[in-house]
Symmetry: C2
Subunit: 78 residues, 2 copies
């Protein structure tokens, strides 16, 4: 059983309204100095057999990420 | 300028219907062997000045995570 992490983030050129809303909210909560927030998704996946990293990469391309607007990275956990 | 990553995941005892939907969808797309998917959020944060990891941790507690149902980790990027 392998544990694989897939991180999916909006491409740099894509607007991220959720991240921008967080940047705007933080000063009102007393946080200074936060200049940028980008929000993405993190998947923790358990895979039994095969090549776990390759399976996770193909699943990211097929289902977890939208390649038009998102980049992803895959790494084995631990 | 420091870059800090905040990963927010549902606590283990919390149901994750998004992750479960992905597990159920994958066999139909030809993926075998995926036994568990947990979906969370990843924040890439840029912070100018202060103690970036401490600021990010406080922001996670205040805004990015719901401590009733989510755990988070903070680490400096690079």
């Amino acid at each position: 059983m392998a544990r694989v992490i897939v991180d999916v983030m909006p491409k740099p050129e894509i607007l991220d309204p959720q991240g921008q809303a967080i940047v705007r909210a933080l000063p009102g909560l007393g946080f200074e100095g936060v200049t940028s927030v980008r929000q993405g998704k993190r998947f923790e996946i358990e895979i039994d057999g095969g090549d776990p990293a390759a399976i996770a990469r193909q699943a990211a391309e097929a289902l977890l990420a939208n390649p038009a607007i998102e980049d992803f990275t895959v790494h084995l956990d631990g």
